[in-house]
């Protein structure tokens, strides 16, 4: 295992930094069901880290542990060198973690612009009165945040739907808007829950490009869950493989691909 302080260099020459988040012996139970069983892994600064596994492997639960939504019964979550206590979701957001959801969770009746603006809530500090009167600080803040949002709209190429209500958009674009909202929070760690589920080949290619660009341009650390193996292998620097709540593999895409346990899990070898 790599030392926490030093990073590594990827095949395409990107420098990956030290450990940002570390999961230590996480176990998560729902009553009698063990969703995650004693899993440890780390996420390093600037890398694209994938969590894969067959249906019911516990991937989404894992992501929810990372995002602080679930609190594991056993184990520790370390973030930026300190142990993270149980937190409310908004506290997690303030720490610089943003996410997208497997089934899109946007405000359907609001425009794309307004949806993305909600991602900036943490940066708006003006009081209720000031916001209601639309004077001074509130106005200034809105302008600044709108500017940040417009850069993201430009980056994700959704200018043409800026004013369109989200409910009217096709699925692929909604996914992109969700990514935009997550990016608007300027996260240090971005969690993507199946960003490509239900997309056609072209939409997947677009989304892959955006994910790579986000990582490249903003240096955002990304942890993602994905089913499409081709996409995972192309995108990610390191992959954690889960099956029945256990970690069965961890390493570069090539290492994982040649791991017998992983092959068995995917080809469906009988479990005892």
């Amino acid at each position: 295992m790599l030392d926490a302080s030093e990073g590594y260099t990827t095949a395409d020459g990107r420098k990956i930094g030290g450990v940002v988040m570390e999961m230590k012996n996480i176990t998560l139970r729902f009553g009698g069901v063990v969703a995650i069983k004693d899993i440890s892994f780390d996420i390093r600064e600037g890398e694209i880290r994938a969590i894969i596994g067959p249906n019911g492997a516990g991937k989404s639960s894992m992501l929810n542990v990372i995002s602080g939504f679930y609190v594991p019964q056993e184990g520790e979550v370390w973030f930026h060198g300190s142990r993270r206590p149980a937190m409310r979701p908004y506290e997690v957001a303030r720490q610089g973690i943003a996410r997208t959801f497997q089934n899109i969770a946007l405000f359907e009746g609001m425009s794309v612009l307004d949806n993305v603006m909600t991602g900036r809530l943490n940066y708006m500090k003006a009081g209720l009165l000031s916001q209601a009167l639309w004077r001074g600080k509130a106005e200034r803040e809105e302008t600044e945040n709108r500017e940040a949002v417009e850069k993201i709209i430009d980056f994700l190429e959704i200018q043409h739907i800026r004013k369109t209500p989200v409910a009217r958009l096709p699925y692929g674009l909604k996914k992109r808007v969700e990514l935009a909202r997550a990016l608007a929070a300027e996260p240090k760690l971005l969690l993507l829950d199946e960003p490509m589920a239900g997309m056609n080949v072209e939409e997947k290619e677009d989304m892959s490009r955006f994910i790579l660009d986000v990582n490249d341009e903003f240096g955002t650390t990304i942890a993602l869950i994905e089913h499409d193996m081709g996409v995972v292998m192309d995108l990610s620097d390191r992959v954690v493989v889960m099956d029945y709540g256990k970690k069965i593999g961890d390493g570069t895409p090539d290492e994982v691909r040649n791991n017998q346990e992983v092959i068995d899990a995917y080809l469906g070898v009988a479990h005892d």
Partner: protein, 657 residues
């Protein structure tokens, strides 16, 4: 505005015009571009400074006199500036079509030998790098959009912005050299090189001199009284001569403002926000807008719908006449004024045509209904006829003499003659210098006296003196019985139906005509939705029996109308198929300006044409398609061949007697 100065008085190049604009109208807007949701603006003085910085940067890169600088990207101020900056240092700008695939672009790049390339974004840079593997001539790539470019090897690459900064920083070193180069530019130096899309064969590089561009801009601006206060929206491909003349030639001559949309997808919104006073669009844009209006009116409340139809009927009756200044009764005028307040005004505003003073359409024939619709709203939409080799203008329609079926009278300073075979020849100050590195083609197109063959067949209408175009001269053929075959004439009639996007007629040398039809997915799709017809794909919708029935009725109506013209009555469509895919430029079936390449379509779909002639009712076929990224695939389909009723023609009756 004082425009007594001419080329002879010092304004012999675009840099010279730029200097005049920066001194005379320094604080007037020259360029606007919507970025980050806001219209960013540059005045003429700021523009001149930006272009100068870029030109200094070019000098630092070592751009020599006569070098070619390719520009590949969407309409952005930086790309227009690159072209003028290239001219400043004595280089020749070559704008290329940004949607061309690498393979297509490679030919043009190799032909012009461009050593420097300005790319819009990473996508274009990737193409140039791919081309470079075989061409090995590009010394430096510049790019406008920095996104995704960080990882590239920058030893022969730089961001345009950074080059400008370097230019500014190094201006003491290069100021004198730049001023010397600007002073050296003559009226007959090359201004720009534009590649024709080429419906046949390889693209040809049309060399246009400063004289061509400036004289054409001057004449046409005077013709339509264009002033420095115009606003235009630049959204048509930069590689197309029209865009060069409107967004650079006329803009620099008059000193008006060029507005660049945020992206191709936002063009309609941007059009509305800008409200151009001078607008240019191919018929397709007007057709799409009209189709959208009609679709939306279908979905509107009954009150609005009735009001729309009632007042549009009135506009149809008198709108055109009012626009042409013909006498109209006071009552009708009053009713039109009310309609203007209630319907026409808001509609024009929605379309973005609220301020249009002069609008042009060209490139293809426009449907009379579409043309009349816009004119009846009070939009001064006119037609012109031109080509790259003429620096656009051959004929134009003067105000008050506008009709859907002609292309107008010769443009100022243009002479026209019609050859025996009907082909149109012209001679004008805009006549191109030559085809680059292609003396044979130059000689066969332009004769010693400067007459240029257009390749189009047409005639001057008796009485009005307006030119009417029949078809491409080489496409006009003869049927087996000797009667005239003019495919475009019939195709245009078919294309005027909103359901039909494209039509291709065959029958040269045969005893009867057959046709391919492409449905318009927007119009037919909406129709299907309203009639509860489910479909999963373009292919399925195109093959739906009800769609075929509708198309058949259109074909039969067209047949009846074709039969009325004794000269062309042989061109009625006997049988047709609705194609399973849209004809597409990526598959080589159309040019980048969306003109059908007949020969290629004929070869590619030979099996379907055979089926059209041998009487079979179905035909199975496999068609190769190219995706946007250049990969290839195939689609299989079984098409139904439809018969259409034809009208017995007078010509045949005469022959039979």
């Amino acid at each position: 505005m004082a425009q007594t100065q001419s080329g002879a008085e010092g304004l012999q190049s675009l840099p010279a015009l730029l200097h005049r604009n920066a001194t005379q109208y320094g604080d007037q807007p020259a360029y606007r571009e919507k970025e980050f949701g806001i219209w960013q603006c540059w005045t003429w003085a700021e523009t001149a400074a930006e272009i100068r910085a870029l030109a200094l940067g070019f000098l630092e890169l070592g751009v020599a006199k006569g070098d070619h600088v390719a520009v590949i990207g969407r309409n952005r101020p930086a790309h227009y500036w690159s072209m003028v900056a290239a001219q400043m240092v004595g280089a020749v700008p070559v704008p290329l079509y940004q949607d061309a695939v690498a393979e297509e672009m490679a030919y043009v790049m190799e032909h012009c030998g461009a050593k420097f390339v300005v790319c819009g974004d990473q996508e274009q840079v990737d193409k140039v790098i791919e081309i470079q593997e075989t061409v090995h001539q590009v010394q430096h790539i510049l790019y406008t959009d920095k996104r995704g470019m960080r990882k590239y090897d920058h030893s022969q690459m730089n961001a345009l912005e950074d080059l400008m900064a370097e230019g500014r920083a190094g201006h003491y070193r290069f100021d004198a050299e730049l001023d010397r180069r600007i002073a050296e530019i003559t009226y007959d130096d090359t201004c720009v090189m534009l590649y024709t899309s080429g419906t046949t064969g390889k693209p040809k590089g049309v060399v246009l001199s400063n004289r061509n561009v400036i004289e054409s801009a001057k004449n046409s601006a005077k013709f339509d009284n264009l002033t420095k206060d115009e606003n235009i929206l630049s959204y048509l491909p930069m590689a197309w001569v029209g865009d060069f003349i409107f967004s650079i030639g006329q803009a620099y001559w008059c000193g008006f403002c060029v507005n660049c949309p945020e992206s191709a997808d936002t063009m309609m919104t941007d059009l509305r926000e800008i409200g151009p006073t001078y607008f240019f669009a191919p018929p397709r844009v007007f057709e799409t807008q009209l189709t959208n209006v009609m679709i939306r009116m279908e979905d509107a409340s009954p009150l609005k719908r009735n009001m729309f139809h009632r007042y549009m009927a009135h506009a149809k009756k008198v709108g055109g006449k009012i626009l042409d200044g013909e006498p109209v009764s006071a009552g009708d005028r009053l009713k039109y004024a009310i309609g203007n307040a209630l319907v026409y005004g808001p509609l024009k505003d929605t379309l973005g045509f609220g301020n249009v003073r002069v609008g042009y359409t060209a490139g293809e024939a426009i449907g009379p209904e579409i043309f009349d619709f816009y004119r009846s709203l009070g939009i001064n939409l006119k037609q012109l006829y031109g080509q790259t080799e003429a620096t656009v203008f051959i004929t134009v329609q003067p105000d008050g003499q506008v009709r859907a079926d002609t292309v107008g009278v010769p443009a100022p300073d243009v002479e026209i003659k019609i050859a025996e075979n009907g082909e149109i020849f012209y001679r004008s100050p805009g006549t191109f210098v030559e085809y680059y590195k292609n003396p044979e083609s130059t000689a066969s197109t332009k004769d010693a006296e400067g007459w240029v063959a257009t390749g189009d067949a047409g005639f001057f209408e008796e009485g009005s003196g307006h030119l009417r175009i029949i078809d491409r001269a080489k496409d006009v053929g003869k049927m087996a019985d000797g009667s005239m075959f003019a495919p475009k004439y019939v195709e245009n009639k078919l294309k005027f139906y909103p359901d039909i996007l494209e039509a291709v007629l065959f029958g040269n040398g045969k005893d009867r005509c057959v046709a391919f039809i492409n449905i318009d997915l927007t119009a037919v799709g909406n129709w299907a939705e309203r009639n509860n017809i489910a479909y999963a794909s373009y292919q399925e919708l195109a093959g739906h029996p009800k769609v075929l029935e509708t198309i058949r009725s259109h074909v039969e109506t067209v047949n009846a109308s074709v039969a009325e013209d004794p000269m062309l009555s042989g061109c009625q469509v006997h049988r047709f198929v609705v194609l399973h895919k849209e004809l597409d430029a990526d598959d080589g079936e159309m040019t980048r300006t969306r003109k059908v390449r007949r020969r290629i379509v004929e070869e590619k779909f030979a099996d379907i044409i055979a089926a059209l002639y041998d009487g079979s009712e179905k035909v199975s076929t496999v068609t190769e398609v190219t995706y946007e990224d250049g990969r290839k695939g195939a689609i299989k389909a079984t098409l139904t061949v439809c018969d259409a009723k034809v009208v017995a023609t007078t010509a045949q009756q005469v022959a039979a007697e």
